[in-house]
Symmetry: C2
Amino acid sequence: MTPDNNNDTTLFNWEEAKATLTKFMPLMVEDQIHTAQSDIVNPLPEDKRQALMDIPFQEGPRSADEVMHELNDFVYQHRTKQSHPRFFSFIPLALSPISVVGEAINSFYSPYGGSHTLSEGMAVAEKKLMNWMGEQIGYPVKELGGLFVSGGSMANLTASIVARDEKLKEDELVKGTVYVSNQTHSSVAKGIRIMGIPRANIRKVKTNDAFQMIAEDLEKQIEQDKADGFIPFLIVGSCGTTNTGSIDPLHQLADISEAHDMWLHIDGAYGASAILSSHRHLLDGVERSDSISWDGHKWLFQTYGCAVVICKDRQAMSRTFSENPEYLTDIQSDDSNINFWDMGIELTAPARGMRLWYTLQRVGLKEMRNAIDKGFENAQHFEDLFRKQPYFEIVSPAQLSIVNVRFNDGKHTEQELNQINKKLSEMSTQRNNAIYYTTMLHNKTVLRFCCMHPLLTLQDVQQVVDQINEDLASLGLIES
Amino acid sequence: MTPDNNNDTTLFNWEEAKATLTKFMPLMVEDQIHTAQSDIVNPLPEDKRQALMDIPFQEGPRSADEVMHELNDFVYQHRTKQSHPRFFSFIPLALSPISVVGEAINSFYSPYGGSHTLSEGMAVAEKKLMNWMGEQIGYPVKELGGLFVSGGSMANLTASIVARDEKLKEDELVKGTVYVSNQTHSSVAKGIRIMGIPRANIRKVKTNDAFQMIAEDLEKQIEQDKADGFIPFLIVGSCGTTNTGSIDPLHQLADISEAHDMWLHIDGAYGASAILSSHRHLLDGVERSDSISWDGHKWLFQTYGCAVVICKDRQAMSRTFSENPEYLTDIQSDDSNINFWDMGIELTAPARGMRLWYTLQRVGLKEMRNAIDKGFENAQHFEDLFRKQPYFEIVSPAQLSIVNVRFNDGKHTEQELNQINKKLSEMSTQRNNAIYYTTMLHNKTVLRFCCMHPLLTLQDVQQVVDQINEDLASLGLIES
């Protein structure tokens, strides 16, 4: 029958795959090893952009060498290295080589990620991993269910749809109301609109000085909405906001959710990893939520596209997403044969969890805990150093691995201070060996540092603060 | 500052990544090279399942060798090899090593796929690829826009949400109606419900003998719905149904869509690739649609998780998904800085298109065309061989790379014939060197063959038919 291999075709030559990867591995490893010494932001120059746009898709083949060098030179070099230890913006990518290996292996086999039956080995391993993650959160393993998805947006959307279908009838969407805080990630509200809830029905509850949702305001708003004929059905709490790393008052949110028969989803895309750290007590109460998002490509050091959504009750996921919910009657107490396509939006999906399975097995939990703890430590070190400068205010102290500070010498207007802090960020971007963008907190422009990368050292932190002082001196704002 | 590398940690040792992949590459290549000689279905035995579930996530590290051997033995070996040339079920995975290489390279760098600014090289390359794909469909390049997503479900959902937001007000969802055919993939209806349209508002239009949507019925239904106070807003046509490969009457669907000011989306997840074949005329009219789905991991030989949704008008995508639509006024005629997160559901996403960019560059279009043409040829060969057997009826002739046949010797009841055909499928699965499941067409159980793999030979096809005849003889249904 079909021959072993087909070396006559370019398309199906596995030996070439091995040869190409083996040949270019040193180039790729070199790039990654020297990340910490390289520029962080690396825009694509206009001539290269034009050259890249001009490469046609042509009839004949081209050599792997030629194409790979174009990829390296035009495409991959011109990325912002979010995996640089001194990239402090957004939630960075602390890209571990272990994860790269796990994902490369997975790509080689390319198992189907949507089904239990078609990829049993993958399904069992991912289920084991999901159970373990849910157990860390505090959900009963016998009842929980979950799904690997591409990121926080998909995880939050998936959970929100389950909440909608559990709590609202199809013709009630126009009355359904959802509660987030003014610090909740914007992707949550985007997801709410995607699933058909009117934009006006998304309530942004105020936060306190620690940027946590104010439970009293939440409850008042829910009662008002009920009186006005709305149907409050979903509270989205944050466990590690992107701006400040703050954690909403989880027990209070759970109390309110229970009292009003609502669904409590926790966006832990970034912060849920703290459950593995020595600071896990910060997340007390998270076990009372109905569902949680948790990203591998954030604080678990994975390549992009590895996140999870876990629901306390897997039946709720199946009720929402299964096209054949009848079969569920047979598996009330057994999830061994649930297909992943019955637990979420996608039918075809890659096996996204295997790289994390490999990472946890290879590295072990102790080093993972230490790596996460390192983020806490570095954020605290930043805070301590800035506190020593009389002309800095700590706008949001170290929470998880994030700290927000502001140059404020008491001699400038608010507007001037905003401009100075923006300038400090720009000067650092210009220098291109540490990147920290500003964010807005209480209408103030502040410098935000997310210190998540385990290879960031205390010496790095010291040098970043020293450099900021040099910048301030060069601007004539402090004595040099 | 930060050291070059950190060989003390298990988590961040790039040299180990290189060593591990280099060491295990032969094992992975061996597995793939021998795919055509191996069992196709490979269930996980109970003892291995238990062993896999029992592997704990423990405190200490384990060696890469140990973990990799578990992965290979317990996880990856126990997958249904949908990439086997004689796996004829669903839409198979014709996994090309070129795609594996492209994806492994991409994982190594792990560029951020959601933004233009953060990954300029990737964004420009993917835009060029998207423009080229849209151009093949027949959309004007200056106006089109698109997004790489994980698969057909996400592509169809993304386009459907754009249609909803372009055609309905937020409080009109309960009146919005959508038109699919009884052959449209089930994931389309699932997506419609996900975005908040009531299940009862999904109209399944009948199909003709060639399994194409009947345009007259579609129009009648739309007019009836309008008279009943519904708001028809979306027609989803199929370009290559999963059951039979049939293509809906594209020009008629476009006429009706235009006449009623509706959105026409084409699900080309499987069939759109025919536009690259020498049979491209089959898709005449597809250029009149508003949007299309097209999967790389189907008939473009990519690893799982590589699909695209393209809209004729990129502004419509941005209006729906951008959180800051104001900025669009500046870029009416220029898409150079649109962030992908403003074109779809996800914020964080891997760079899913780069493996396809690499494949097209490395392999060239001519071999891609030939590889797609091969699917047409093999399906036709199956049809021809079955036509020679008087006891087979051709229930759906070769369309794209799919053909559906049925053992029917005229001597059995419909129910008996259903059982015999089911039995033939089971006997082949038992034998495990060619897998074809049954499907239902016109309430008949039929044997379905999707012959998409370019390494499938005419000799393979002949042997599969011979084997079926042997099975029939062994059942005493024909003379041996």
